[in-house]
């Protein structure tokens, strides 16, 4: 099964230290990768995984330590040196020119030319098609980037690295942007690559993916090297404990449900997306007090539009939204927040959730700054605001507990805590949580789930929208499956068949 050639060490990073000023991002990390090996780098957000591979790819220069490529010591001064030595990197955020074709993007910077510097596109296209064929990437060299899916764009990035002769491929959180079927395709591609003798370094904090694709795993915690383990010999639980440094519970602790009366009704909702195409095509849903209703589905089936319609950010074309049987369709965001007490944890915390340049305290009062005690007659009461922020930081364990820090300077998990403190702290009737754990590590996920369950146990209603099926099943009381702008099925979460939901998410009927 595995294609590892233990006689050839392709990457050796020995005792690598990287400091930014006084901050030690990498403190003596060791990493050895063999030919044909998939090596996972595991760590919490901000543990120093990306810093380490950036040292390997020449984006950072290590403060101390040795890097050997194929047994030869190498001073990776910049990415060009890395590329020349067969190292390729696929970043979390793609570096592609949208209006260009696949081939144009791939040859960018090292164009093949005929006489007189005329671009030889057809030769390049042929080579791109060849590589795509060989590794099963299923990429048409003439497609424009803007016309292909995110998963395909990622494969173009892989192709670009291979085109430049990469033997060692670094994938930075490659599954963060992918749908479940696309993840499976990526797994296949990774297998194809190792069969051909490539080495893969994959950064992730998703444990089951490590179990699925990786041969070895190196764990980093707060910049320190913890251990390197053979993946087959450890459980997900053990990996999680090593990563966080304490026991982690995967199971969401829930008391028996006390389901209350119906509170929110969505009736035959029709909403258009930004391009004017119907994203919700008559969606209906009911939410009760004391329950968590999970909306399961693949990204792009109308989830974002549903949330935006519910929060007053997007116009409803037809259909109704009722709260306590009172119509609230078309209400403004302010009415929905203040008047109806519906609060939202938005899917994109840096875009919709936080004003990154504001400090923690200012972010905490984003929806209440105009009310007593935070202001009176239009004048802000700063002592009250910072006192409240101090209390919130303690209650919701926001670290560091300094209300004067800008939101930008917090880690992803703590940014999410600020949002949760704001939304949950205002004691909402209905809490809408969209992708609340995206990009968070196990410890932070545990925290977010507990916060949602606590709302439900207090008799409030929670609407959870997530692309992670596991999350929906574990946290929810009831599950609604969304497909192409409609709810195609609703069921109790307990004892649900994962395959059945998976099929419904893909548009199949059960």
């Amino acid at each position: 099964m595995t294609a590892i050639d233990f006689s050839q060490k392709t990457v050796e990073m020995i005792n690598v230290v990287k400091k930014f000023g006084d901050f030690v991002a990498n403190d003596g990390i060791n990493l050895t990768v063999h030919k044909g090996e998939v090596h996972a780098l595991l760590g919490e957000n901000g543990a120093g995984k990306t810093t380490l591979v950036n040292c390997l790819y020449g984006l950072y220069h290590p403060t101390a330590g040795t890097i050997r490529i194929n047994g030869r010591e190498l001073n990776v001064t910049d990415p060009n040196v890395a590329i020349q030595n067969g190292i390729g990197m696929v970043h979390q955020h793609f570096m592609l020119v949208e209006p260009f074709t696949v081939t144009q993007n791939i040859i960018l910077g090292r164009e093949t030319t005929k006489l007189m510097g005329i671009l030889d596109l057809s030769a390049a296209e042929k080579k791109v098609a060849e590589i795509s064929e060989r590794y099963g990437l299923a990429i048409n060299p003439r497609d424009k980037i803007e016309d292909i899916s995110v998963g395909s764009q990622q494969r173009v990035e892989i192709l670009k690295a291979l085109y430049r002769g990469a033997e060692i491929l670094i994938l930075d959180e490659p599954t963060a942007v992918l749908t479940p079927p696309e993840i499976q395709e990526l797994v296949m591609i990774i297998r194809n690559l190792t069969q051909e003798g490539k080495s893969i370094i994959i950064i992730t904090h998703k444990l089951h993916e490590i179990k699925q694709v990786a041969d070895y795993c190196t764990i980093i915690r707060r910049g320190k090297y913890i251990d390197t383990v053979e993946v087959d010999t450890v459980t997900e639980q053990e990996l999680a404990s090593m990563m966080v440094g304490r026991e982690v519970s995967f199971a969401v602790e829930k008391k028996p449900q006390k389901r209350g009366p119906k509170i929110l009704t969505i009736d035959n909702l029709v909403v258009e997306d930004n391009r004017g195409i119907q994203a919700l095509k008559g969606l209906s849903l009911e939410l009760h007090k004391g329950e968590i209703l999970g909306v399961a589905g693949v990204d792009g089936n109308g989830q974002s539009e549903l949330i935006e319609a519910l929060t007053g950010l997007r116009t409803v074309r037809s259909g109704k939204i009722l709260l306590h049987n009172k119509e609230i369709t078309g209400a403004l965001p302010k009415q929905i927040i203040d008047g109806y007490n519906i609060r939202t944890i938005p899917e994109d915390r840096q875009k919709r959730g936080l004003v990154l340049e504001f400090d923690v305290a200012e972010n905490l009062v984003l929806e209440t700054y105009h009310k007593k005690p935070f202001s009176w007659r239009g004048v802000l009461n700063h002592p009250e605001i910072y006192q409240y922020a101090d209390d919130s930081a303690k209650e919701f364990d926001i670290r560091p507990a300094n209300p004067y820090l800008t939101a930008k300077s917090l880690s992803g998990g703590n940014q999410q805590k600020v949002i949760i403190a704001r939304e949950v702290g205002n004691d909402p009737e209905v809490l809408i949580a969209s992708q609340p754990t995206r990009g968070l590590d196990v410890g932070a996920i545990e925290y977010v789930h507990a916060a949602l369950v606590e709302q439900r146990d207090r008799g409030k209603a929670v609407l959870l929208v997530s692309f992670e099926l596991d999350e929906v099943i574990n946290v929810s009381d009831r599950i609604a499956v969304i497909f192409e702008g409609k709810i195609v099925g609703t069921m109790a979460a307990e004892g649900v068949d994962e395959n059945e939901i998976g099929l419904m998410m893909a548009g199949g009927t059960s």
Partner: protein, 375 residues
């Protein structure tokens, strides 16, 4: 002890004030090179400028008069920038404020203080609407404020030139309007200055008398008050909170229930009103009339520079405005004293802004230096 000094230095360099001061220093240094290249002794030139600013009370008074409109247009640009809008239209709003102040000052017959209040108030309202129009166009139709305010600048300029040609308002053949009534003027002791007692006083009191030789007016006091107002509104009020939230991240502000479109209009109303006040104080305190203009005077455009040098804050605008006013006034003297071109001053101001806009470059230069020193 050395550790303390190092920490202090670090703090100084990481702060915006330190970087601004270094930028100003670099501006002077490069200005010296330009002067040298043009064949003039830079030290002599800077000495002339320095003397031209500080050697007589009258000069200082002139610097303040020069600085007043620049401070206020700087505040206008700073206010808009802090709320995420680039008010290139301060120039046009200034012109509109000047037209209205000149008209109200000439046509209305009102008692002393009331006349000033009415003239300034109307000028602010008109300019606020002029600025608010750009905000409305952006909120309603999505037209970028840089485009709309540039267009509105030209409309304001030609409107001003048109108004000067009107029979009732413009003094025919002079290209100027009639002077405003004395009740609308904000100069200090202007009537008394030309009375016998006043002339006697100026002659006998060296310091104060010298100051009174300039058209000293109360506009500067208002400029300071407006700077305080801008600081207060932005940092202490819910309105300022909303505007800043929209400026930093309109998406999050919208999701938080803030009316983003309304904020754009309000911000431009405020910015326009400020620039209009600059125009009004200039007319009521210095020019007393408006004249046909071949090109824009640049008070609004200079405001952009003042705002940038002042790090888009109220207090910063006051200091940057004073620096700007001093350089403009003092700089004009190297022409007479040394036959050196005053354009050098414009080049210097340009260089200062360039460096202010590149704080990272300065940090880089300084860290390279520090590294070399430590090696």
């Amino acid at each position: 002890m050395t550790l303390d000094a190092a920490a202090l230095k670090k703090k100084f360099l990481s702060g915006s004030i330190g970087l601004t001061l270094i930028s100003i220093f670099l501006g002077f240094a490069l200005g010296a090179i330009v002067l040298l290249a043009a064949g003039f002794n830079p030290l002599e030139a800077y000495w002339v400028i320095l003397k031209g600013i500080f050697s007589r009370p009258k000069y200082v008074s002139y610097v303040i008069i020069y600085a007043t409109p620049l401070i206020i247009t700087g505040l206008s640009v700073a206010f808009a920038l802090r709320t995420g809008l680039f008010n290139i239209g301060a120039e046009g709003q200034y012109i509109v404020g000047a037209i209205v102040a000149a008209a109200a000052g000439y046509f209305f017959k009102l008692p002393l203080i009331l006349h000033v209040i009415v003239a300034v108030g109307l000028a602010i309202i008109a300019a606020a609407l002029w600025g608010g129009l750009a905000g409305y166009i952006k909120a309603r139709f999505g037209v970028h404020e840089v485009i709309s305010t540039i267009m509105l600048n030209w409309i304001a300029l030609y409107l001003s030139n048109f108004v000067v040609t009107l029979q009732a308002f413009g003094k025919q053949g002079t290209g100027k309007t009639y002077a405003i009534q004395s009740t609308a003027r904000i100069n200090l002791l202007s009537d008394w200055k030309i009375s016998e007692a006043g002339i006697e006083f100026i002659r006998s009191h060296k310091m104060l008398g010298d100051v009174l030789k300039s058209p000293i007016n109360v506009g500067f006091i208002f400029a300071i008050l407006l700077a305080v107002l801008v600081w207060y509104v932005l940092n202490k009020t819910t309105l300022g909170y909303e505007l800043r939230a929209v400026g930093f991240n309109p998406h999050a502000a919208e999701a938080g229930g803030i009316n983003v479109k309304r904020s754009m209009v309000v911000s431009m109303l405020f910015a326009g009103g400020l620039a209009g006040a600059a125009g009004a104080f200039q007319v009521l305190g210095v020019s007393h009339r408006i004249a046909k203009l071949a090109a824009m005077e640049g008070y609004g455009f200079d405001g952009i520079a003042v705002s940038l040098i002042g790090n888009n804050t109220g207090a910063g605008s006051v200091f940057a405005g004073l620096l700007f006013g001093a350089l403009k006034y003092g700089g004009s003297k190297i022409q007479d004293a040394m036959q050196a071109p005053t354009e050098v001053i414009s080049i210097m101001i340009g260089i200062i802004i360039l460096f202010v806009a590149m704080p990272n470059l300065i940090r880089l230069i300084l860290t390279i230096k520090a590294n070399r020193a430590s090696n």
